[in-house]
Amino acid sequence: MHASPWKVYGTELGSRLFIGTALYPSPQVMLEAIQASQSQVITVSLRRQTPTKSASGDKFWQLIESLGCHLLPNTAGCYSAQDAIKTARLARELFDTDWIKLEVLGDSYNLQPDPFALVEATKVLVNEGFKVFPYCTDDLVLCQKLADLGCEVLMPWGAPIGTGQGLINPYALETLRKRLPDLTLLVDAGIGKPSDAVQAMELGFDGILLNTAVAEALDPAKMADAFAQAINAGRLAYEAGVMPKRDNAKPSTPTLDQPIWQQYD
């Protein structure tokens, strides 16, 4: 059984997994992993590239094109609103899409998003017609402000990028889900294993964006398949409705009319 389809800025998707294109041992492994993930959205980036390297750049582009996925360019590596805005404009021209994964970092150790610069850049880019996917912290007030600016999608971190720590603050993520029920929410960054993804999906998150957990697995294609199944399972569980937790045990087998002649006193 597959979880219900969903929409991202008006685009209907079946898969709830967005997957990155970086860090794979080879282009072929990347291709196989992305295919195994069944993802319909892949993240890409852009750099100044010297002409002597242009042939390899073209090969990467051919692989990306062959996948036929929606592209979500990022502004990775930007530490100011101005740089992120500039990069987003280049990305729109280069990839021919108004989707942008907006990253504005504030700390080089944790790669933690700078909430102030993120809001500043979002304001400009939304006004320019971009469909902004902000990579943000799990701060409720920040997320509310981003939503107020016109973001239909928010991508709070589970943990710092590339750490594989899973959901460090499930309470904050659950609060976001409860307080922003109409917003599309993806956990971006920090997912280490499929059970982390299941946890996020069971909380009611709409999707997961990950890269390192698949690219650095011993068998990336197999891990991509594992994530695809986990994310589908987590979403199905959310849609099915998870039972409430209880403090006391409750027998699952009916006790009435038990065929025991001598009842306990």
């Binding site: 993240t43 242009s54 073209d58 582009w61 990028i161």
Partner: protein, 76 residues
């Protein structure tokens, strides 16, 4: 033609971060051919301005211009 006259026909520009001498009045299209840019997917930026593809034949570089070729790379 003397060497000094020839020299006047050259200008220095910065291409992808490195300084090069190129012919005065060189167009973006000439520049792409000169450096063998063969990628199908790229963006040309001169002094932080995106150059529309339709103007590659007519946009000329000037002394001191910074010209960059932006290409797709992998990303997370």
């Amino acid at each position: 033609m003397s060497e000094s006259v020839m020299a006047k026909k050259q200008i220095e520009i910065v291409f992808n971060g490195d300084v090069f001498s190129v012919e005065k009045d060189i167009t973006v299209m000439d520049l792409l051919q000169l450096f063998g840019v063969i990628t199908r997917r790229f963006v040309v930026v001169i002094n932080d301005q995106i150059i529309p593809k339709s103007t590659y034949m007519t946009t000329q570089l000037e002394l001191g211009d910074h010209c960059d070729i932006i290409s797709p790379i992998s990303g997370g």
